[in-house]
Amino acid sequence: MNADVLLANLPALLIAIPLFGAFLTPVIGRFLPSIRDAWVILASFVSSVVAILLAAQVYAKGTIVYVFGAAPGVGTIPADSGGIPIRILFAIDGFGALMLISAAIVSFAVILYLTLSQSKRSYRSEFYALYLLLTAGIFGMVSTGDMFNFFVFLEINSLAASALIAYHRNGGLAAEGALKYLIVNTVGALMILFAIGLLYAQYNSLNMAVIASQISLTSLNILALVLFIAGLATKAGAVPFHFATPDAYSVAPSGITALMIVASQAGLYGMFRILFSVYGHVFTSETIGWVIIILGVLSMFIGVTMAIPQKDIKRLLSYHAVSQTGYMLLGVGVALAVLGDIALTDAFGRMAMEGGLFHIINHAMYKGLLFLAVGAVIYRTGVWNLNEMGGLGHKMKWTMIFFLIGALAIAGIPPFNGFASKLMIYESTFAFNPALAVIAMVVSILTLASFMKVFHSVFMGPQLPEYEKVREVPKRMLAGMAILAFFVVAFGLVPDLVVNTLVAPAADALLNQGQYIASVLGGGL
């Protein structure tokens, strides 16, 4: 088998490798337990490499359309199918590539961390198998071009995530959080399936590009859009669908929460894909844009105000995750509101969109880093309550530094990556509507205040006698954090380079609906 064949089949390998790794993990754990951890890290590493290679190909050659089960040279639309692409296909454009990169980095960093942080627990083989399934679900969601496939990967994502939340359970709390998460996500997923049925009934196709090429703004399609937005906002954990998010995030093992941030962003990916690539240019008014902006502003504000009084450190971080999702919705919502107007899009809509998308990858990095650092503190102390912690900076210097990097990034302090994307959002929303920019800045200041409080009460102050024996966490856990911290700092130091090479193609892919349709319908292997 030569390299060309492998490269040509990368989209299939993207799903096959994590699935293969997942199914073999319990077998290896049963017969060769000594190499199980190495096997899991290897499987995660290879799937991350495949994802990054695929993203690199997309950036080099443009949208990749991969048709499953077709011989090489066969187009997307077989000659005898009457103009309908009947096969299942993957369509990965710039936006999908951006999400693939963020999922690949976080999933590999987290598995390094998890193989040590869970090392004293039981039944770990199945735990890692579920972890790889969750990775496969995320990769599938962000690369498929078929609506029903999207739904199936969404369910893989929800099921694996909720099983992982309750896996190493902390009394009954974890089961409670996981049950809430699963019920809410199942209702959301069924709404999405209903909307898919509504679209299929009218256009006889499940292919996003085919539907996009024929869609008009009828009342049935508006109903489908509302169901899509509600269902995917549930997955993304935006207000007013956020009630399961803090419960689930705060009881899950910390590494799992870090990956669930990416899993929830796959819901955002779905929402933006439906809004721009499927509906796109049928919106003539600003209404839909304002709906997304209002969802964003509510998420930002309610998330941060709920976070401030929390005592449980992971619950506090979870509410901040809701709040940060608001920034992404705000940026992309502004771009959506001015989508029909080319002059305004050039003036600030594009920048708002780039800011929102850049914030997605930044949030995955710094929030992952924060959850891992907090998980390291809990790993050593076993305490979740902020008021009982203190003085840990004396013993856990590296963890403290990583937490500080994440905290400054989430608060939007230069030169970390949160500043770069937030600045783009402030500038562009100020041009659209100054009040929105003011709200975004106020939320940032509240975030900074909240994190200074957390930093102070966890790491600062005199050394407490009960934490006499606390040591720094093992090196592999630090390595997981270091990978994410590297990207937090690197993206913050050269934001222009990252925006031009990674984020701008993603924004292009979303803004240019015609190109997406043409590349899927006209393309092939």
Partner: protein
Amino acid sequence: MIANLPFIAVAVLIGIGFAMVLLKRNMIKMIMGLGILEAAVNLFLVSLGYREGGIAPIFTSAPEGVEMVMPTVQALTLTNIVIGVATTALMLSFVMLIYKKYGTVNADEMRRLKE
């Protein structure tokens, strides 16, 4: 009217399902509500593909000139049934864990996560 009967049933079932998920405090009943919701969506998909007088969509054994019902939505429904079984099983096992810990399946009596 009679042709729309399945869709009216879908609307009624969705209403019942949502009401059960939102109003019931017993977690087993909430999961039953989700089951009804899922059945409603499945019914919707199957009714979309139904063709009056159509036969089973088996291409090789179809006589000439006879209409077939649509196979795609039936495949979707089957997939959704499988997913639904997995979801329900997982949810029921969470309820079991909660019952072991708290001795109740009532959502109001559980130790609230938020406090």
